[in-house]
């Protein structure tokens, strides 16, 4: 995997720059999820599980078609269902594929203290490297989308890899391939943004969805998964998609200014006591005879 390190542009908990930062040209990959053509069939859920080969989950019916309440460490891709009542009294069944958003500015990576546990490849994929993960769960706090999940047995965090094993071999992610209606699409960020904007325009102009738009939140630097929504003003209706997601300011502060303030404070403390010693010296009770407090 000698070249693989060059495909990394950010590394969590890492002192110094990542080996691939600014080294090679690469395109940003992106998943487009057009919720207006999602039929909630869960093919993406199955394809994800089949490809990644995790164990099955015992689920319980809970007054919904939704497979389970949230994604889990071994279920990375979940369609969230919402029987949404429209303003005119009609019903919409809103369905949205929930998974890692592969933020350009990933909060999980920012929060992670373990060197190399989270990496961002030059193509934008944010990937967890379980062998380096220390299971601290800081990524949970860093993520504005509630994505990283903890496997209590192995004490490692897991989430969607954007099928990095497939993508690095030139294939599309498993979920994308399976999607029957083409609600999922894969390509470069540029192309997907273009496609999404065109679709949103079409929805506004030809299908009467005046508020249709694209969800590509700037708060996290844009995402590697973008959505087309019938109503972009109300992303919360789509299974709680945050309206303006960003890395929690606490995490930003903690991993940013606080780091320097803390480090300076610690360094300052050490410097101060050193200066103090040099200036005032020790307190010696019994004169020079017994430096060590008069002990033998």
């Amino acid at each position: 995997m000698s070249q693989a390190t060059l495909a990394i542009k950010r590394i969590s908990g890492h002192a110094g720059p990542a080996p691939g930062e600014g080294v090679e040209r690469d395109y940003q990959v992106c998943k487009l999820v057009d919720t207006t053509t999602c039929i909630g069939c869960k093919a993406c859920e199955v394809a994800c599980l089949e490809w990644n080969g995790y164990e099955f989950t015992d689920t319980v019916f809970d007054n919904s078609y939704q497979t389970m309440p949230e994604t889990t460490w071994k279920y990375w891709n979940l369609i969230k269902f919402n029987e949404h009542e429209n303003s005119d009294g009609t019903i919409s069944l809103l369905m949205r594929k929930d998974q890692c958003m592969h933020c350009a500015d990933p909060g999980c990576l920012a929060a992670c203290p373990a060197d190399g546990a989270i990496v961002q490849y030059t193509n934008g994929i944010v990937d967890f490297q379980q062998q380096n993960c220390i299971g601290c769960g800081y990524c949970v706090s860093g993520c504005p989308f509630d994505i990283p999940k903890f496997n209590p047995a192995t004490k490692k965090m897991f989430k969607c890899t954007l099928c990095v094993d497939r993508v690095s071999e030139g294939l599309e992610p498993a979920c994308i391939k399976s999607c029957p209606t083409g609600c999922l699409h894969f390509g470069t960020k540029e192309d997907m943004t273009d496609l999404a904007e065109k679709r949103a325009t079409q929805l506004r102009e030809n299908f009467g969805f005046e508020k249709a738009g694209v969800y590509d939140p700037a708060g996290v630097g844009g995402t590697g998964v973008i959505y087309v929504l019938h109503d972009a003003t109300n992303p919360e209706a789509y299974g709680g998609l945050p309206k303006d997601p960003h890395i929690p300011w606490v995490v930003k502060f903690w991993k940013g200014p606080a780091k320097w303030i803390g480090n300076l404070a610690m360094l300052g403390g050490i410097l101060r006591v050193t200066v103090h010693y040099l200036r005032f010296g020790p307190k010696i009770v019994d004169g020079s005879k017994h430096e060590n407090g008069g002990q033998p």
């Binding site: 601290c136 502060f253 903690w254 020790p282 307190k283 009770v285 407090g293």
Partner: protein, 226 residues
């Protein structure tokens, strides 16, 4: 309380002017329990704190091991602090003497101890450190649980995660500040202090100089007992 501060039964020290037992064996054990657990948490905590210190985790067995033990050592530290609290609560209350001493603290810093009003068994600074560690550990342990079991905090209560992170960091930094001073004073600055927490003894002079009120109380007690 005073009964615990008996003169060592060990053979008299070289200087007959006398040594006084400052810390019993139990006190020393607890101090060092707290110290070692704290230092472990400090090392691992610093490793998690900054990528430039992540190598510290390698020194103690690697990241996952560090992550595994950090909360357990933290719990150990908490317990030892609580034990100390039980042990020393009587000595740690802020008294009028402390208030007087605090006003003259500058002299202490500048090694002009002769200008200081007399102090009890622990001076005001030591007490401050004690309370800093005591309240610090409470915050650390509570926020620590939030970080330990972060995945069990539901998304709707995620503000708890953020609070936990903030509190843990702030509390840790505060204890580190105290810790730096404590270590400096205990090892480099106040000669005799380090030995006292190792061996438990100080000379009478030392006691008289730094903790006159305590010295008087102890010697009075001793004479009355002996």
């Amino acid at each position: 309380m005073s009964t615990s501060h008996v003169v060592s039964s060990r053979p008299p020290a070289r200087e007959p002017e006398g040594v006084i037992c400052r810390y019993t064996l139990g006190e020393r054990v607890h101090h060092w329990l707290a110290a070692l657990t704290y230092i472990y948490c400090l090392i691992t905590g610093l490793a998690f704190w900054s990528p430039y210190m992540y190598w510290l985790a390698t020194l103690v067995g690697g990241g996952p091991t560090a992550r595994f033990w950090h909360p357990w050592f933290g719990l150990g530290f908490t317990l030892s602090i609580f034990w100390m609290y039980k042990m020393w609560i009587g000595d740690m209350r802020i008294t009028d003497a402390d208030r007087r001493w605090s006003k003259a603290m500058r002299y202490y810093v500048e090694n002009q101890d002769e200008k200081l009003p007399p102090e009890g068994r622990f001076n005001y600074g030591q007490k401050l450190f004690f309370w800093l560690m005591f309240y610090g550990v409470i915050l650390l342990v509570i926020s620590g649980f939030g970080l330990w079991f972060v995945e069990s905090i539901p998304w709707s209560l995620r503000w708890l995660r953020y609070t936990a992170v903030t509190v843990h960091v702030v509390a840790a930094l505060a204890t580190i500040a105290g810790f730096i001073i404590h270590v400096y004073m205990g090892t480099a600055m106040v000669r005799g202090g380090f030995t006292s927490i190792i061996r438990g003894e100080v000379t009478s002079t030392w006691a008289k100089t730094h903790h006159r009120l305590w010295y008087e109380q102890v010697t009075k007690g001793t004479s009355s007992q002996k």
